[in-house]
């Protein structure tokens, strides 16, 4: 019981280290401002396969093995895998994790999946149920377009509030062995539905969930914005960021000095015409691995609050006229 923190958080008293991580992204992400940070940039959108879905599975598989290889680990060194993606019935994970041959928990939390995967992985290690696990999440621009919107070559316009799904994957080996960063706490997301129905304004859908999770994290841990070097949301984009600031202002909280959004960072909105920014599971996952963790390892950031955000819609719920619920999972990451 000693790990329970406040009403909805956990503070881990056993060590949960991020032993290692890997990121692989697509061509467009590899042309963005962080092109030199990712482990690998795959210029073939099919990843050497003949379908978008197989491409995303291959992306997951390659990223998982890359994360293991960096530390000379074998899949057998993992006790569990926590993995997810955006596709119906989670087929990117279902097919991508076959070759690892380890016990898998398949997760869905839309674009916040990596937050859920890291949370559950950290809980598992903290509880002593595993010594080493793998947490990962992926997204692919083409599979997401096909799943949620239109065929890729269908001509249409998107409004300035829309985002572009990142082709990318981030994989993290969590371990009780010492690593450069560690997960010290989590605040799990509560589903928030403010009645937004516009599937092309995901920032507006997710901002209330991000606000709720960040506020609960502060309350549960007795912390404020100044206790974190960075507060990093997943894929709110420029519209969602403004809404998050406005919602937090009502609570008397100002995080503008610490805030960063993976979706805004990962592309150059001016030159890459990505409108409000990047989105997708792979956006926050790859960004955490490629950009944030190295800065934690170097000591530039001592403690961050990583808050991937997700919009829990499906084409069916949208067609049925339902509003879109949002969710955000917070993970406290500190220097190891």
């Amino acid at each position: 019981m000693r790990d329970i923190q406040g009403k909805t958080s956990l503070c881990f008293h056993n060590d949960v280290f991020i032993l290692n991580s890997a990121s692989i992204v697509g061509k467009k992400e590899g042309e963005g401002p962080y092109k030199d940070s990712f482990d690998k940039i795959e210029t073939d959108p099919f990843f050497g396969t003949d379908s978008w879905e197989k491409a995303e599975s291959t992306l997951q598989e390659q990223t998982a093995f890359l994360a293991l290889e960096k530390q000379n680990l074998h899949p057998d060194d993992l006790r569990y895998i926590f993995a997810g993606d955006l596709l119906g019935q989670e087929i990117a994970t279902g097919f991508g994790m076959v070759t690892l041959g380890r016990p898998v928990f398949g997760l869905y939390s839309a674009c916040s999946t990596i937050g859920e995967a890291l949370s559950l992985g950290a809980m598992t290690i903290n509880a002593g149920y595993a010594d080493q696990v793998l947490s990962l999440a992926s997204s692919h621009f083409a599979t997401a377009e096909k799943q949620f919107r239109f065929p890729l070559e269908y001509g249409h316009q998107t409004p300035p509030s829309s985002t572009r799904t990142v082709t990318g994957c981030g994989a993290f080996v969590l371990s009780s062995q010492a690593g450069a960063a560690k997960i010290t706490g989590i605040t799990t997301g509560i589903i928030m539905d403010y009645g937004i129905k516009d599937a092309l304004n995901m920032g507006a859908v997710m901002a209330p969930a991000a606000c709720n999770t960040i506020t609960r994290n502060f309350n549960d841990f007795g912390r404020g914005p100044g206790d974190y070097d960075k507060i990093v949301t997943g894929d709110l984009g420029v519209v969602g960021r403004q809404l998050l600031f406005d919602l937090l202002a009502k609570e008397g909280i100002d995080i503008s000095a610490q805030h960063m959004d993976c979706g805004i960072e990962i592309f150059d909105g001016d030159t890459q015409s990505t409108h409000a920014g990047g989105s997708g599971c792979g956006c926050s996952a790859a960004f955490l691995s490629a950009v944030l963790l190295p800065k934690i390892a170097s000591g530039e950031y001592r403690r961050i609050l990583f808050v991937p955000t997700g919009a829990l819609l499906s084409p069916v719920s949208s067609n049925e006229g339902q509003s879109i619920p949002g969710i955000a999972h917070a993970v406290v990451i500190e220097k190891g």
Partner: protein
């Protein structure tokens, strides 16, 4: 949660969400749509000058515009034109051709029957369904008015 809180948030979202630049978008649509129509008219005039009657010349125009649109879709160029020109590229027959061919491309990996066969009209289907329904309804009105001696 109280509905007033939701309503207040929704109104706030509406007020801060950037809107597309309507005059600029309309200008782009006018340009792209205009160019497509000029190409179509060019085909009609050419066919007519080669001796085709009015109806045949118009058919050549539709046929070639569809062909060009499908080829551009295959090369990944139509989506870029539509991203710039919006409805200017979508409203002429070119948009319909793109809607069908982009589905064929996208779903070919799922097979000839359940992929292409089932999903070919994923975008074009509603246009056909409601186009036919509307023309049927208008035809009925026309017939009634005709019988009543109004027309």
């Amino acid at each position: 949660m109280e509905n007033s809180v939701k309503k207040e948030y929704q109104d706030h979202v509406k007020s801060i969400t950037p809107k597309p630049n309507l005059p600029l978008d309309m200008l782009k649509a006018f340009l792209v749509g205009g160019v497509i129509c000029c190409i179509g008219q060019g085909i009609i005039n050419t066919a007519a000058s080669l001796g085709a009657d009015k109806q045949t010349a118009a058919s050549w125009s539709s046929f070639l515009l569809i062909l060009i649109s499908v080829i551009l879709t295959g090369f990944g160029l139509f989506a870029k034109i539509a991203d710039f020109g919006g409805a200017g590229a979508l409203v002429p027959i070119t948009g319909f051709a793109n809607g069908i061919s982009s589905c064929a491309l996208e779903f070919q990996t799922e097979g000839q029957v359940f992929g292409i066969g089932t999903r070919l009209f994923f975008i074009g289907g509603p246009v056909i369904v409601y186009g036919l329904a509307t023309s049927g309804g208008l035809g009925l009105i026309y017939y009634i008015l005709l019988r009543m001696g109004v027309i």
